[in-house]
């Protein structure tokens, strides 16, 4: 009640100031001024976990106190500024800085921040109550603190219970690998892990990877035995003095390790870590905030509330349990399971029931069909009608897909057009200069240059028209044509179409084309669409690699011809491989999921088949096998020979 009155008085004061009326008296100012909280971080304050902590702390104190609060914060970053912890100039600077502000309470975050606040700052800000947060025994001894100090502390290293959880999940683990940085707080954490391991009965082998730069740590970690428990102690500073926010790198470290990794901060869970006995910054911020409010509301002469113990919280990431094949029921009792996905039955219950219903209905239908033999003929007619409809739909889908593909290629095409258009303009400009320079008639050399310029311009114009024709051919809805098609040529043209993409992604295309002329009979536009689709997919897939690389190969195998497009991307997972050719199934954010179904339908219409597999040495390979024209196409090649003979006399008269 008295606080609400105080708040109202404060509002009135502000109002009076805003009106420019009489200035409030000094006494009124003191009575109504905000509560001032100084938060001292031992780390940087801009990292995600710390920002969340600060936000929660502020919100809790504001809400629970109910009167205006001002927050001041100092991030001392002791990991990088190592000498500052014992620095009295820093302390007297801070004391001077806050001298005018009458700080009501100091909140050190972390054991070393607390030590600094008590040993160094205490002299400058005597008797100001201190509420510490995120401290742990034995680094901080709660019984050795002055009377004006209280806070929240972990009873012991979190690594002992974390190890307990790891050993429950991996009873056959033979080794514990500790990963840590070279900073002071990293070393504290590493030491804590080491002593927790040696305290274990039947202690496993211990490896410590400490202070390595990230690019050396990751390869080392990849080589550890798989029957290991990896403990991520902390990694704020590497051996070369680079500072890291652990949250940014814990994911890649967890990913490199061939064994499950555990940790002590809740913020790291979700980045690829299995879990552990963790400190939850959000919870701690709220509880610290409440303690701060209790301290601020103390009556005069009332002692500080006692130091509070941070409870043990086990957390595990259910996706990681699945990844490593760890049994959920071996988790310590009371473990909070994060990222739990519903079981197949939970997720698909409706679908399963519906499917069962449909199957039942269908069985009845089939039964009645069997009984009604007389109607069989009619049913046949229905089936034919359905087939006709399916064919029609397939044609429509092929058209749709072509339009979608053109959408993807439109960007490429417009880029292609720029090249000849730019050349035309540059040539025209150069020609205009030559003409302008000649005072009278053009001399022979100028004339020759102008002629060259004009023929260049014509050539570029033809090139631009060709590009446009190529797009039109792809969009038009045409019936299947049947003519001899050189697959090598198709591969080369397709690569030209995506050339811009290739350069922009710093990718590389290698051709391994069979010199034995792999020729098939079919529709050149549709076959080009097949190769283009596979090529675009391969480029997308290989984008995951640091050196994107795609290989297109053709091989003549007896009666058959094979085109293979191989990428060095992540390869195909089991589910993807199964559903690859389903309509509207896609792994791309902007994909329509029509590319491969269309590829399949075109290939089938050419009496061929397409399959996808994981390539040896990584990546995926798509193979299209088509009947070659070598045997069946004897006539076709004769035909070609005749045409050549007819053309030869005209084209090469000298030889005759």
């Amino acid at each position: 009640m008295s606080q609400r009155l105080a708040a109202r008085a404060f509002t009135v004061t502000i109002f009076a100031l805003a009106l420019g009326a009489t200035a409030p008296s000094a006494a009124a100012q003191r009575a109504t001024r905000s509560t001032r909280v100084l938060v001292i971080y031992q780390q940087q304050a801009e990292t995600r976990p710390m920002l969340e902590f600060a936000e929660q702390l502020r919100a809790t104190v504001n809400k629970e106190l109910g009167s205006p609060v001002e927050f001041y914060q100092e991030a001392l970053d002791f990991d990088r500024f190592t000498g500052l912890e014992q620095s009295s100039p820093l302390a007297s600077y801070l004391a001077d800085k806050y001298h005018q502000f009458a700080i009501d309470i100091v909140v050190p975050v972390g054991g070393r921040a607390l030590k600094f606040a008590v040993d160094q700052l205490g002299r400058g800000l005597p008797d100001v109550p201190v509420v510490f947060a995120l401290c742990a025994m034995p680094q901080t001894d709660p019984t050795a603190q002055p009377a004006n100090v209280t806070g929240r502390i972990s009873p012991a290293s979190r690594f002992a219970p974390t190890l307990e959880m790891a050993r429950r999940l991996q009873p056959d683990a033979e080794r514990v690998v500790v990963v840590g940085g070279a900073g002071p707080s990293d070393s504290t954490s590493v030491d804590a892990v080491v002593s927790a391991v040696s305290a274990l009965g039947n202690a496993p082998e211990l490896s410590v990877l400490q202070g390595l730069p990230l690019d050396e740590l990751l390869p080392k970690l990849r080589q550890i035995p798989t029957r290991s428990i990896v403990i991520f102690a902390n990694y704020r500073l590497d051996g070369r003095g680079h500072a890291y926010e652990p949250l940014d790198i814990v994911g890649s470290i967890a990913h490199a390790a061939p064994a499950p990794m555990y940790t002590q901060l809740a913020s790291y869970v979700g980045e690829g870590v299995v879990g552990g006995s963790v400190l939850r910054f959000d919870d701690e911020a709220v509880r610290t905030g409440r303690l701060v409010v209790r301290v601020l509301r103390r009556r005069r002469g009332e002692p500080m509330p006692p130091v509070e113990l941070i409870p043990n919280t086990f957390v595990a990431d259910s996706r990681q349990l699945r990844r490593w094949g760890l049994a959920e029921d071996r988790l310590p009792p009371g473990t909070e399971l994060m990222f739990r996905e519903p079981t197949l039955w939970e997720r698909y219950r409706t679908v399963v029931l519906l499917t069962l219903g449909i199957i039942a209905a269908e069985s009845m239908l089939i039964g009645s069909l069997l009984v009604e033999r007389r109607r069989r003929k009619q049913a046949q007619l229905v089936a034919e009608e359905q087939q006709r409809r399916i064919d029609e739909t397939r044609r429509q889908v092929a058209h749709m897909g072509r339009v979608a593909l053109v959408g993807e290629l439109a960007a490429t095409m417009s880029h292609d057009l720029r090249q000849p258009l730019a050349a035309i303009r540059m040539n025209a400009e150069a020609g205009a200069k030559i003409v302008a320079r000649a005072s009278g008639a053009l001399d022979a050399e100028d004339r020759a240059m102008c002629e060259e310029i004009f023929s260049d311009i014509v050539a570029d114009n033809v090139l631009a028209s060709d590009i446009i024709t190529r797009v039109r051919a792809l969009v038009r809805r045409e019936e299947l044509r049947s003519q001899p098609v050189d697959l090598n040529e198709i591969c080369r043209t397709s690569a030209r179409v995506v050339q811009y993409d290739v350069v922009a992604r710093h990718a590389e295309i290698t051709f391994e084309l069979d010199p034995g002329q792999p020729t098939v009979t079919g529709d050149p536009v549709q076959l080009q669409q097949v190769v283009l689709n596979l090529l675009v997919n391969a480029l997308d897939a290989s984008a995951a690699s640091t050196t994107p690389h795609v290989t297109i190969s053709t091989v003549v195998q007896g009666e058959k011809v094979e085109v293979a497009v191989r990428d060095n991307g992540p390869g195909l997972s089991g589910e993807v491989q199964q559903r690859l050719f389903e309509s509207f199934f896609t792994t791309k954010p902007q994909g329509l999921g029509l590319g491969l179904p269309i590829v399949q339908s075109i290939v089938e219409r050419h009496h061929g088949r397409v399959r996808a597999e994981n390539a040896e040495g990584g990546g995926a390979v798509f193979r299209v096998t088509l009947p070659g024209t070598r045997s069946a196409g004897e006539n076709a090649s004769n035909l070609r020979l005749k045409t050549l003979q007819m053309q030869t006399p005209v084209a090469n008269g000298i030889l005759q």
């Binding site: 880029h415 720029r418 090249q419 000849p420 258009l421 730019a422 050349a423 035309i424 303009r425 540059m426 040539n427 025209a428 400009e429 150069a430 205009a432 200069k433 030559i434 302008a436 320079r437 050399e445 240059m449 060259e452 310029i453 260049d456 311009i457 050539a459 570029d460 050339q499 811009y500 350069v503 922009a504 710093h506």
Partner: protein
């Protein structure tokens, strides 16, 4: 009249005319390498260099340039970013690594996003987006000769 078709200024010295083979003397070992896969761009740039008495050799690909052995390194490279086979940027990296010192490179491309990726890149002496004005190219090339 579009900006690209402005008629040449006298300041660029188009009065001088020289037959091919380049100028004698000091200029003989000074030359510009032009690498572009687009034939008419190559011929256009060759003509402009010829008008300016600048010796220029043209190449249709990075590989063609690498196979060419000259008695002296070029004074500068006019290098298309997008080439069949090895890209223009890859060529500059390779020359910088294996045949240092890298002559000043003026990257050209019809695509501004490719050029934008070069900003603050130490391998790029300059960059021009096609179509560019001949005067802009000459203003970059001439001080390097």
């Amino acid at each position: 009249m579009p900006a690209g078709l402005r008629v040449a200024s006298n300041a660029m010295g188009y009065q001088a005319k020289v037959l091919e083979g380049g100028a004698p003397g000091r200029m003989a070992d000074r030359w510009v390498a032009i690498i572009d896969d687009h034939q008419s761009v190559r011929s256009c740039l060759t003509r402009v260099m010829r008008l300016e008495r600048i010796r220029a050799e043209v190449f249709a690909s990075a590989e063609e340039y690498l196979a060419y052995s000259a008695s002296s390194a070029p004074s500068c490279l006019v290098l298309d970013m997008q080439l069949p086979g090895m890209s223009g940027y890859a060529l500059a990296q390779l020359l910088d690594r294996e045949r240092p010192p890298l002559p000043p490179v003026i990257f050209i491309s019809a695509h501004e996003d490719l050029l934008a990726s070069l900003e603050h890149n130490r391998l790029a002496h300059g960059s021009l987006r096609k179509p560019f004005e001949m005067d802009d190219l000459l203003a970059l090339v001439k001080p390097l000769l």
